[in-house]
Structure formats: structure tokens, C-alpha cells
Symmetry: C4
Subunit: 360 residues, 4 copies
């Protein structure tokens, strides 16, 4: 995969992952690669997609295959967004600025993390014309989240992604003592408390998440930001329906890449139930274990409007900065397009469950 980038990329993301492990510092790799507990959910996320076997169609006119689609009304080149992940400076000197440039080049949406090492405003300045969303948790001091939501609105972000899987601080076995202290040169301009802006103890900051947030609070994110709200971290149909009832514009199915609670179902295994429960009243996205274009096709066929890519984007950043992230996004989109052609579906919205063995 060259895609106009400065390096020749390996042919599969698994090989890119191996390169990234070499390129990243051990501390960054531990942080990036680990999951919670025995990491069974992290592994199962990947495997669950592969259980859906394809039933390709043939003899349809595939002269004009397009992966482009819209996400909350925003045009994107492919249903492949950049998931919110923390601390891009951990793998790339330019940090989130590199990611912002990659999103522009791949014409997709970058969901900036509350735990970014770059401010929402700086990301916006780097890529003013791109579509960006701002991810955030409700903090115990709700004023801090309000301030961040207001900043997102003011900085031209197009949606707030409200994460709802923060009711307890996860324990991550692979990290020393189950905790993480990033380099003290890092700053967290979206997350750090105004009282302690130079605090770099991410896990301590994580303990600021408000465990009392409920469906009734979802409207606050919209009220504060003036933006549509995507609820991230939903794993059940009944919860998804209640989020929609509470005004959510979209549901992002996620088990946090297997990083919060080991033993949770794979996202691929709950996607059909959630898509059925939402029943078109909102958009549905999914992340977790998506490693090639066929996985993207599977997700969309099962009911997702788009997928969110977490670790692979970081692998690209680690290996080659913005160019690397672009290569990953182009690689996935190219594979998706090829898979669509070989399945006889030339538009994303024609990807339906009958393409998967046993899915109907």
C-alpha cells in the first residue's frame, strides 16, 4: 500500500501492527496494545467478525463501485471514521495534529479524544475545513464537561461523542500496577482539571468520570454544545433504544476495545440486536477488532452506518505519522471497495445481512 505516502506499507494490518510494535516505545506499546483482565474480550472482538462468512453475489454490474457515504449528514469517502483514542503524542511527535491532517486527506471524520494531548482548538486550527467530533465523558465536576462541550461547539466541531462506559475505573493487567502514568511532558488540555492543568496521571483523571450519569443527562451534552450527540459504549438493544428516546442522534457500539471489562461480548455479536432495536431511528456505529475491509463490509451489512478505527490508526501514526494513518484509512477503504465489487454491491447502502451466512 503506497497511496501516495512516503513509505511502502505492509500488505496487511497484522504486519503493520508488528512494525508499529518496533517503532513505538515500550511504554506506548503497552498502553496501546493492552486490554483489561485476560484480554479475552480484546481478542474476541477480532475473532467475532471472522465468524460471519460471506455469501457474495455475482453478475451484477460493478462498473462503478463507491464506498462513499454520509455520517450524520457529513459526506465521507468511506464508512470508516477515526475512533477517539488517547495521547497520540505517545506514538507520534505531532500527536493529534498529525491525525487531523490524515483525516482531511482521507476525507473522513476524526473523533478527538477528551484524553488527547492536543486541545480541541489546536486540532481545529490544523484542519479547519474537516469534519471533527469531540469525545468526552461526564466528569464529577459537570462544569468541566460543560466547558469542554461549549468549547467543542465554539471550535466548529460537528458532534459530541458522549462516552458512557466510565462508571468504574478499569484495571488493566498488563500495565504496571494496573495503572498508567504517561510521560510528565504530556498535557491533557481537554481533560485536565483547571485546578491542576499539568497533571499527567491519566488514571487519576479517569477517576474523575461521573458514575452517576443517566439517560436523562444525555440532553445536557446537546444543550451545552449545540451539537448532535453520539452515545458511545452501548452494548445492548434496550439501552440503545433508550438513548434514542433520550435524543441521541447516533449510537456507537463499543466495549472500549476490550479495555474496560474483560468478559464482555464482542461488538460484532451485539451489533445485529442493537441495529434491530434502533430500527433506523438513529445511526449506529461500531468499533472493536475491525482489521480489514471485509470486516467493514460485515459491520455495515449487519446494520452499522460506519465503523470507528482505533488501534490501526495508531499503528499507522507510530510507523509513519500522518502518512501512516492515511495509508491505513486508504487501505481499509480500498479493501472495502474490492470486497463490495466481489460481493456484487456497488453502493454502501446496498450492503445487507443476506451477504452473511446465518445473519438473516
Amino acid at each position: 500500500v503506497t497511496d501516495g505516502t512516503s513509505r511502502v506499507f505492509p500488505p496487511t494490518l497484522a504486519e503493520l501492527e508488528a512494525e508499529a510494535e518496533v517503532a513505538a516505545s515500550p511504554a506506548a506499546w503497552d498502553y496501546l496494545a493492552h486490554g483489561s483482565g485476560d484480554e479475552s474480550t480484546m481478542r474476541e472482538n477480532v475473532v467475532a467478525w471472522t465468524r460471519w462468512k460471506l455469501r457474495p453475489q455475482v453478475l451484477r454490474d460493478m462498473g462503478d463501485v463507491r464506498t462513499s457515504t454520509t455520517v450524520l449528514g457529513i459526506d465521507v469517502d468511506a464508512p470508516i471514521l477515526i475512533a477517539p483514542t488517547a495521547m497520540h503524542r505517545f506514538v507520534c511527535d505531532d500527536g493529534e495534529l498529525a491525525t487531523a491532517r490524515a483525516a482531511v486527506r482521507a476525507n473522513t471524520i476524526y473523533i478527538v479524544s477528551m484524553a488527547a494531548t492536543t486541545s480541541l482548538e489546536a486540532v481545529a486550527a490544523e484542519a479547519p475545513d474537516s469534519a471533527r467530533w469531540a469525545q468526552m465523558y461526564m466528569l464529577r465536576d459537570r462544569g468541566r464537561t460543560r466547558a469542554l462541550a461549549e468549547r467543542a461547539g465554539a471550535a466548529g466541531y460537528r458532534a459530541v461523542v458522549a462516552s458512557v462506559d466510565g462508571a468504574a475505573v478499569p484495571r488493566r493487567s498488563r500495565l504496571a500496577g494496573g495503572a498508567l502514568v504517561p510521560p510528565d511532558t504530556f498535557r491533557f488540555p481537554n481533560l485536565a482539571s483547571p485546578d491542576d492543568p499539568h497533571n499527567t496521571n491519566l488514571m487519576a483523571m479517569v477517576s474523575d468520570f461521573d458514575p452517576t450519569v443517566t439517560f436523562d443527562d444525555l440532553a445536557l451534552f446537546e444543550e451545552w454544545s449545540g451539537l448532535p450527540v453520539v452515545v458511545k459504549g452501548v452494548m445492548r438493544g434496550d439501552d440503545a433504544a433508550r438513548c434514542v428516546d433520550a435524543g441521541a442522534a447516533a449510537i456507537a457500539i463499543s466495549n472500549h476495545g476490550g479495555r474496560t471489562l474483560d468478559g464482555v461480548a464482542a461488538t460484532a455479536d451485539v451489533l445485529p440486536e442493537i441495529a434491530d432495536a434502533v430500527a433506523g431511528r438513529a445511526e449506529v456505529y461500531v468499533d472493536g477488532g475491525i482489521r480489514n475491509g471485509v470486516d467493514v463490509l460485515r459491520a455495515v451489512a449487519l446494520g452499522a452506518q460506519a465503523v470507528l478505527i482505533g488501534r490501526p490508526v495508531l499503528w499507522g501514526l507510530a510507523v509513519d505519522g500522518a502518512d501512516g494513518a492515511v495509508a491505513v484509512l486508504h487501505h481499509l477503504a480500498e479493501e472495502l471497495g474490492r470486497a463490495m465489487a466481489l460481493c456484487g454491491r456497488d453502493r454502501v447502502d446496498l450492503l445487507t445481512r443476506d451477504l452473511l451466512l446465518g445473519a438473516t
Copy 2:
């Protein structure tokens, strides 16, 4: 995991197990670690829990998560009891006295084994204010069991745990000759025959178990001790219902940690059937293969009032005596609380089957 103990504990019980193997004598480890036959039931006990995948709920107020519950009317900090296991002196100089202290500190119930190397009375004296239960088999000389049951009542125990899986002497492949002769310094003040009080041949003593005990005999335990009776070793719904009909206050599902008959179903696989058969007329407990707080959550969600922890408590004792056992119990409770919060259930009695994929 420090939990106020004198050592830093490893982050998972699997790592603690590895440390315990180093700390324990080879003979003790062989005794503790082995199962019967090919040890398939022992392994399956662990794996079966992991097949139940979680369906967490979000956006519930998790500001006050409590793992506390009651077991036969006794308040405990978590639904995590200490299973009856033999010969704690094998892994810890203080033997069962250390375990008794750990139970007090963790505010849970210690089920003292008939094959303990400490008398019921000495355990009671060490932890007079704690809740203790006394486990026993019916012996061929029923007068001996009667005497033990009477001692349990007199020593302030709160229940008798009648084990009913002793109809034959198991063969345990990993032990030399399939048998076990503990150090001859050991004494078995609850099990040894009054005619041969210094006998340390545990397997010979095991052959004293009465294979003719039936449902009609369950009432004897209550009659002799004046205590409620927990029937331990039940693996079927029909048996559980008959135990309740015969007056049992609780059913403890157990295949003896895979140590009696290899090929028996995993306890996780029969728990739903038994909980349904008992239908709330008695409490249900389960042991076997529980290795983290999510397993505890799974067991309670499937219908258990509490779980019994066997080998992991012994690992803690082996590595750090009473402090180690406390750390194990705290670790599990802490994981349970975190899992409850991340599943959106703040009370133990709100853990229901809908939390598990495919369980309803």
C-alpha cells in the same frame, strides 16, 4: 492489589497461582492443584464461566455500588465465601487459624473442612465473632459425624455443610499411586477416628465416608447440630429439589473442583437448571473455576446467592498467610464491584440473567 496487606499482590489470580506453586512444597502443590482422571472437569470448570459473555448496561446511576449481601441471614461484604478445603497447614504454618483471621478481616463466612488440620473449636476461638460453617461427611460410623455436628453447634457454628459427593473414593491420577499420605505431623481433629487419632492417611479416612446416606438422612445433620443444613455436591435440578423437600436450607453446587469424577459437567453449566429447580425455596451457592470478579457476577446473575472460593484462597495462604487470603477475597470483591458498576447494577440482588448473552 495491596489491600493493606504486607505484600504487593499480582494483578490476576493466574499470576498468584504461579507464585503459589513456587511458595508451596511439591507435595502440597500436587495435592492442591490436581484433579481426578484427565482433569478435564477441573479445566472445564474454569472455561465454562467464560462462555457466558456479558451484556453490560450503561447510564444507570452507579454512585453507590455495594457488593454486600446476606447468606442464610448473615451479612457479608460480598457474595464470596471460603470453600471448605482440607489441610491448610499444608500451605501455611498457621493453617486454618490464618484462614479464620482472613475471614474476619474480609467479613465473610469460612466453611471449615472436616479434613482441617485444626479443630472446629480452635478455629472458633481464633475468630469468635465471625460467622463460621462446619463442613462434614456422614461417616460409616454415624456416631462420629453426630459428635462432630454436635461440636459444631456447641462451638457457635452457624450452619452445617453436608457433603454428599462421597459415595466412592476418588482416584487422582497426579498423586503417587492415586493416593495421598500427608506429613505425619498433621492431625485431623475433626475427621480422625477416636480409635486412631494420630492417623494421617487422608485417603484411608476418606474411605470411612458412608456411601449409604440418602435424602432421608439430611435431617440428621440438623437434628444433631441444631443448625441449618447446606447440602454440598449437588449437580442436578431434581436432586436439588429433593434436598429442599428434605429440609435443606441451601444447595451448594459443586463437582469438588474436578477432584472426584472426571467427565462431570462444569458447575457453570448446571447452575441455571438448579436455580430454576430450587425456585427460591432455598439459597443456591456454587463453586468451581471461579477466578475473577466477573465470574462471581456471572454466577450470581445465573441464580447463585454466593460463590465458594477454594483453590485461590489456598494460593493466597501459600504466598502470604492470612494476608494473602484476605488479598484474594478483597481482590475478587473489588473486581465484582467494578464489574457491577460497569454493568449498570449497583446491588447484588439486581444481577440477573439478562446480563449474559444467551442466558435468558
Copy 3:
């Protein structure tokens, strides 16, 4: 396991197998251990039993557990017969005479193979008071089979076991060239052609099997021998029913230990169907992959009147002659008795399908 034999036996048959591999000549071991094709059926035979998980019952009076039963009206100490296998001289100097002595000592039935290296008459002379059955194929020269059947009747055999899985010569990958030439000192007094009595090319003799034998021919075995006929090699319920209609006294389910056609179902997987189809009109036996007493219990619970043990008896013969074979049979019976007690069933005819998870 000592059982009064001259050696201490290993605790599991898997360990005995390892010893037998050392004790046997490479040629003998290749012959004994191999299966056809990729040996998937051979392996699956063993695994399929283990999929049936036990649901033990408790609190039944197990004061008098008996493994004894009857097979075609013959009293045996356990439902564990000696399967017909070829060339016992390959693993033991005394050959089938040792096996005959073992059968007497274990009080079970020895099914002498048509490919034995000892004559039916010599076996009978060695163990005159024991119950013996004679196994045979219909040969293209039916007069030769008739002569053998008549000899079985005259030598006091109690049944003819007619093997019906010989419609083609199997190819066994592990043997050089797919064929086998035993030592030329071997003789096959039950199988060799009268025209070529010193022929030791077993595979050439196998090509003498008559591929045209049908249900209508089953009556010939009874007519020639005056004995009840057991049909061996049945793998379907419809076939079993037709055998019974044609006068068979019993059905022996077998895929020849995975040695004829790789890819065939495991015997454990077809036993329920066949037991249901026979519906008590004849006895049902099963062989293949039975490696411990729990497997015997599983087979009987699923509908078998008895099991036939092939390779493990040969392992015992290889390691310690008749004593070794006795030890294997005693070991299995002892394990069966222990499993029965721990399942709450004190008689063989009380072993029913409810003991197995998912079998009813």
C-alpha cells in the same frame, strides 16, 4: 493398579499406551496404533465420548454397587468385553492364549478374531470354561466361512460375530505402501486358505472378504454354527433394524477403530440413534475410543448393553501379557464401579440417558 498382577500399572490408560509403545516392536506398534486416512475418525472416537458430560445424582444408597451384568444371557463381571483384534502374537509371545487366560480371570467374554494367530480350538482348550465368541467375515469362498462357523459351534463358542464392514480393502496411510506383511512365522489358522495355509500376507487375505454379503446372508452364520449372531460394523439405525429383522441377536456398533474409512462418524455419535432403532429387540454393543470407566458408563447410559475393548487390551498384553490384559479389564471395571457410585446408580441397568447432559 495392581489387581494381583505382577507389575504396578500406570494410573491411566494413556500412560499404559505410552509404555506399550516402548514394549512393542515398531512393526507391531504401527499396525496396532494406526488408522485409515488422516486418522480423524480414530481420534474422534476418543473425543466424542468426552463431549457427553455427566449429571451425577447424589444421596442414593450406594452401599452395594455392582458392575456385573449379562450379555446374550452370559454372566460377566462388567459390561466390558474383549473386542476381536488380529494377531495377538504381534504384542505378546503367548498370543491369543494369554488373552484367553485374561478373559477367564476377568470373567468376561473374549471375541476371538478370524485373523488370530491361534486357532479357535486352541483358544477353547486354553480356557474351556470361559465364554468365547468367534468373529468372522464372509469370504468370497463361502465354504471357508462355513467351515469356520461350524468349527466355532463345535469348539463350544457361544456366538458368532459377523463383521460386515469388509466391502473394500481399507488403505492405511501409516503402513508402508498402505499394506502390511506380518512376520512370516505367523500363522492364521482361522483365516488362511486351505490352499495356502502358510500365507502371512494379511492384506491379501483381507481381499478375500466377500463384498456381496447382504442382510439375507446373516441367517447363514446361525445356520452353519448353530449360534446366535452378533452383527459387527453397523453405524446406522436403519441398518441395525434390518439386521434385527434378519435375525441378529445383537448389534455391535463399530467403525473398526477408525481403521477402515476415515471420515466416518464416531461411534459415540451414532449410538443413541441405533439404540433407539433397535428399541430393545436385540442387544447393542459399541467399541471405539473407550479409554476409561466413565466412557463405559456413558456408553451404557446411551443404550449399550456392553462395550468392546480393542487397543487397550493389546496395550496390556504388550506390557505384561495376560496379567497386563487383566489389569486393563479390572482397571476399567473398577473405574466403572466408582463412576456408578458417584453417579448414584448401583446397578448397570440403572444407567440411563438422564445421566448425560443433553442426551435426553
Copy 4:
């Protein structure tokens, strides 16, 4: 396996594969052995057949077992055809001429590939009396396909095999850069453009495949060639039915040996659905992962009229030229005959689904 060939062949195709890897050049082996993506479909093709367990019948007269059958009215010795595969010169100096001679000797049909390194006419001249089919894709320049179809008709081919899985150029991870450039001494007289007849860039030529071909175009192949049309690459029942409606004489189920899109279902897993959808209105063939005669029996029992053998024929060519290919075909036919006899079915058209556990 000797079969009158010049070498002794190994007893299983797996062993032949290992020999072929030694005999072939690394470039040829990479081309031959690889699949697309993670090669999961390539592996699953093999495994899926083995999940169908056999239920053999016994006591049927197997005195005259015949593997012969007809395919589109052509008599063949066994339902085992030679699949179209590219560049036989890669593994064998004589290239497709050797394959043509093998097909004559095995009395089967050779499907000559559009990507052959030998012209349709030269193959026809080498084996004038044999039955040959010509495989081809619709090219973007349809006139080129028309010319090839006309040549097939003129050269006495008996059917056109229209491949329909070419809507996108596959990416094959194991090949350098995902592409392939064969030796520049190769010529592609059936595929190369008249404008660039010496082009040896196969992947570039592959990009000439017309992605706009639809069901309506199938009639063109028949119109141009005057031959019946076999549609190859179908993986769904609905597609198969539409092909038949559009005039196809036969459906060849194929996922291109796992070389086009990784994640596609195994052919064994879609065969029953497709056979049911076609319902006898056309013939059905299948390729992918067939590695022994029992796999052939399984395919026919599930509804295939014949199987197509790809890689194993190339292994034979690599190891011993035409003799090697003949040995492979004879080996499979011999195994099929043996399997039929041991399943109690003496004619190919008696192979039905009841022979497979769970297939009815």
C-alpha cells in the same frame, strides 16, 4: 499409488503436497499455494468437508462398484474433473500439454484456463479425442472474449466455463506487493491482448476483466461458441437459480480456492443450498479443498454432479508431469470407489445426503 506411472506416489495428497513444494520453484509455489488475505477461506475450504461425518451402510451387494458417471452428457471414469488453473508451465515443462495427456489417460474432462500458457488449439491437438472445456472471463474488450469463445467452438471444445468472480482484482498477501509477474518467457495465447501479445504481467491482464458483466450477458458465451455454458464462481442459491434461468447448463460452485476474497464461506457450506435452489434444472459442480475420495463422496452426496480438482493436479504435475497428474486423479477415483463400497452404494447416483450426519 503407482497406477502405472513412473514413480511411487505418497499415500496421501498431503504428502504429495509436501513433495510438490520441494519440486516447484519458490515463485511457482508462492503462486500456487497462496490465498487472499489471511487465507482463512483457503483453509476453511478444506476443513468444511471434514465436518460432514459419514453414516455408512452395510450389507448391500458391493460386487460391482462403479465410479463412472456423465457430466453434461460426457462419459467420465469418475466425477472428478480437472479445474481450470493458470500457467501449468510454472510447475511442469510441458505445461498444459502434459495436463491434456493426463486427462485422456484418466478419462476425464480438462477445463483449460484462459490464463493457460498454451493455446486452446495446441491443447486440442495434443488430445484430439478427449473432452475439453474452455474457461474464460468476459474482458472489458468483449471482442477478445468473443474471439476466444469462437476459437473454443472451432477447436472442438465441448463447453465454455464462464468465470464470474472477476469484478475486482484480488489482493494476495503472500505475493510480493500483492501482485505477480511470471517469468517473461511465458506466453498467454488465450488471454493476452492482440495489441500486446508478449505481455506476461498476469495481474495486469486480470484487470482487463469486465466488471460489468451480468446475467443477461451469459447468453453471449453460448451464442459466440455454440457450446453449453457452465457458470463458475457462484456461491448462493439465488444466484444459481438466476444463472439457470439465463440458460446456464451447469453451475460450478467456487470461491476460487480462497484466492479472491478472504472471508467468503467454504464451498462445502453453500453446496446444499445451491443444489436445492437448482433442483435438478442444471448440473452442479464444486471445487475447493477437496483432498481425498471421501471429500468427493461428500460433495456428490450433497448434490454435486462432479468436483473440480485444482491444486492437487498441479502438485502431481510438479512432482512427475503428466504421470503425476494421472496418479492424483486415479488416487482420488480409487479412494472414491473404496468409500462407496464401504458406504454400501455402488453407483455414483446413489450417493445421497442420508450418508452424512446432519445433512438431511
